[in-house]
């Protein structure tokens, strides 16, 4: 056995070095971005300085990053439940949009005392997002429509519906259909005194995170979701109410996404714009993939994503670089982490096979059976891999 192979085996068998794929992923993504920047004749230092200046240098910039982070983290909390259950909730973009639409419907047309107003708006946001997600779940269990296709369809429907509202019934006079009028002050979420942050959204997000953490780490329901993620049919045979759990996981995820959409319109924008979700649902999917459904990693990974994304606009205005550069960096990063995590897993498997072979006195272990795993129930980096 060569020294190189020995090193590889040591790396693969070390649990401490489980973080290696992430480190390698960051390295590869950085090299790729450096190559792109070199091609564009832009100094990497200038990009770094700009990102730092616009995100971490001043308290208001840091508050802006946190404000961007909260809805992403909220969506991630919901996605942790669906991913664990083996569900690809790609329809999360639509759920955010419908949450924003639900909140807007109250903000524009209902006048209540401040507290009741805010509560009703958030309730409608959660209800609209939840209903949208639940419908996808029901289509999956009762209609036999795969949640990926159902989610994509529901995204398009939500986007078209919100565009319709903006050009027709909710369009301000003489407007182009790009946004509604600004909401009355009474309808906007209160802000902290020192920084532009919504304490209500912070409480909601914290509650959601603790709920998901406790659910997935120490509850019977969490265990059921894990079993479903590993193998839905087997879980069903063992008495897990899979249909009810799918509905519940989708509903809770939809409520969280809807509340994130509510935050976007009730605090950040104070109106309903076109394309309100702005891709944060897909971004959250990337976060959960990168964190490999590990609940404790999600806040940190989502914060890093929020930090980079909130620097996107200045890149365009100050360095004439497109904001998509950040998307490329994150895409390469997640892709590399997936790949290197796969490499690590395979190496680990080999080591275990060798150990098994050695323990059986050199006799060949029985050949691995043909793997027949349904979509969303496989692998180290998708739903159900936890």
């Amino acid at each position: 056995m060569t020294a190189f192979r020995k090193i590889l085996i040591q790396i693969s068998s070390s649990t401490v070095l489980g973080i290696l794929p992430l480190l390698v992923g960051i390295q590869v993504a950085l090299v790729a971005i450096l190559l792109i920047l070199n091609n564009e004749n832009v100094e990497p230092r200038a990009v770094y300085d700009l990102i730092y200046e616009r995100t971490l240098s001043l308290p208001e910039n840091r508050a802006n990053v946190v404000d961007f982070w909260l809805p992403i983290l909220l969506c991630c909390c919901g996605l942790l439940l669906t991913f664990t259950a083996g569900l690809w909730n790609i329809g999360i973009e639509g759920q955010i949009t419908m949450g924003a639409v639900g909140a807007t419907s109250i903000a524009l047309f209902v006048e209540l005392p401040r507290n009741e107003q805010i509560f009703t708006e958030l309730f409608m946001a959660g209800a609209a997002g939840g209903a949208w997600a639940l419908f996808t779940g029901v289509m999956r269990t009762r209609g036999g429509v795969n949640e990926i296709f159902g989610g994509v369809a529901m995204n398009f429907l939500a986007s078209s519906f919100s565009s319709y509202l903006l050009v027709a019934p909710w369009s301000p006079p003489n407007a182009t259909g790009s946004a509604t009028v600004r909401f009355p002050e009474n309808a906007i979420l209160p802000s902290m005194d020192d920084y532009r942050l919504s304490p209500i959204t912070m409480y909601i997000t914290l509650t959601a995170f603790i709920f998901v953490l406790l659910t997935l780490s120490g509850s019977r329901w969490g265990l059921q979701l894990r079993a479903m993620g590993k193998n839905e049919k087997s879980a069903q045979m063992l008495g897990v109410p899979t249909e009810r759990n799918i509905w519940l996981a989708m509903l809770i995820c939809g409520i969280m996404a809807g509340l994130a959409g509510g935050h976007l319109v009730l605090f950040r924008r104070a109106n309903l714009p076109a394309n309100v979700s702005g891709g944060i649902g897909f971004l959250s999917l990337l976060v959960v993939l990168l964190a490999s459904i590990r609940v404790r990693w999600v806040p940190f990974v989502s914060f890093a994503f929020a930090l980079l994304y909130s620097a996107g606009l200045p890149l365009r205005t100050r360095l004439q670089l497109d904001a998509s550069l950040i998307g490329i960096f994150l895409g390469i990063l997640v892709f590399c982490v997936l790949i290197f995590d796969g490499v690590r897993q395979r190496l680990k498997e080999r080591v275990e096979q060798r150990k098994l072979l050695a323990a059986s006195g050199g006799e060949k272990s029985p050949p691995p059976p043909t793997v027949e795993i349904q979509i969303g129930q496989e692998a180290s980096s998708g739903p159900g891999s936890n």
Binding site: G144, S160, L286, A379, S381, G382
Partner: protein, 324 residues
């Protein structure tokens, strides 16, 4: 026939070509048991690359070749990650679709709004003069003819050749296909590469023909629609073709309604119709509702009706195969 209707039908055939090519490509991929979810991003990147290469070199052939190469490469990444690393095909495809979309935006910004070269119009002699049919089917460019022939070719290949039988075996029961002597992994690579190349070609047909030129996100959403059409079409070439024409036909109808002020419905609501109809049809077919209504069909027509309504995905779709 009304000349407006004839020209609308010709437009539908033209505009549906990229969707048709992409969905047939995905059909081949999925029939081999692999899900390539990267379609939306791949089409965007391929469309941008085809336009950029043609713009810089003046060669349409080169632009198309590069687009196909990109489609093939992305598809090969998906299957390689699945075969060698046992990664989830959906996860890899999803990340790639976002990455490719961002790459197309970043590298395509120089070409946004530039004047490009179009694939030349090549009516087919004699056939172009057939009344109605000539204008609808035979007065286009070569990519449109290719899209029409592709459906027939995929159908013949899948259902009337030995290799097509083994293709279906790869997606339905790879272990059985292996026992019968099919080199499962090799053929999966071949079919996925071919399907990916077709997806790349669909991208090229957007920027060089149907939506001439390049703009950020110009084909956004069409990859998802192609994926949806494959499911809607029940993994069958002709039903998929029907789905593509149906979607594009509804879009054309929406435009017509808007121009003529017929229904007085906003375009956004009409745009929702294809998705609603697809969902309803899919629920009707896959929930067993359609099967339960088959009792109303005369017994001698029942097997044919049952076959027509069948919408089951390949049994081993998205699964990994290991030689035992």
């Amino acid at each position: 026939m009304d000349p407006v209707l004839t020209s609308t039908l010709a437009d539908i055939v033209r505009n549906a070509a990229p969707l048709l090519i992409a969905s047939q490509g995905e059909l081949i991929t999925e029939r081999a048991g692999v899900v390539n979810l990267s379609l939306d991003g791949t089409i965007l990147l391929a469309a941008m690359a085809a336009f950029a290469v043609t713009y810089n070199t003046g060669s349409l052939g080169m632009g198309i070749a590069v687009a196909m190469l990109i489609g093939m490469l992305v598809a090969l990444i998906v299957i390689s990650a699945s075969v060698f690393l046992k990664l989830n095909q959906i996860a890899v495809g999803f990340v790639l679709t976002l990455l490719c979309a961002d790459l197309s935006t970043f590298f395509g910004r120089k070409y946004s709004g530039q004047q490009g070269t179009e694939i030349p119009y090549t009516p087919i002699p004699i056939l172009e003069n057939i009344p109605v049919m000539g204008e609808v089917f035979f007065q286009h460019n070569i990519l449109i003819y290719f899209s029409l022939l592709l459906v027939i070719f995929v159908w013949l290949w899948t259902y009337h050749t030995r290799l097509g039988l083994s293709l279906r075996g790869l997606g339905e029961h790879p272990a059985a296909a292996y026992v019968r002597g099919t080199r499962v992994q090799l053929w999966r690579f071949v079919y996925v590469a071919a399907g990916g190349a077709l997806v790349g070609l669909a991208g090229a047909s957007y920027s060089l023909s149907v939506k001439l030129g390049w703009r950020e996100g110009s084909t956004l959403g069409n990859g998802w629609i192609a994926l949806a059409i494959v499911i809607f079409g029940g993994w069958r070439p002709f039903r998929i073709a029907f789905g593509a024409y149906f979607i594009v036909g509804l879009r054309a109808l929406a435009l017509y309604f808007q121009q003529e002020d017929v229904l007085n419905l906003p375009i956004q609501i009409i745009n929702m119709t294809p998705w609603v109809l697809m969902l309803v049809t899919l629920i009707f077919v896959t929930s067993g509702l359609a099967e339960s209504l088959l009792v109303l069909v005369p017994p001698r027509w029942r097997p044919a009706a049952q076959n027509l309504l069948r919408a089951k995905p390949p049994a081993a779709l998205g699964s990994n195969f290991e030689r035992s």
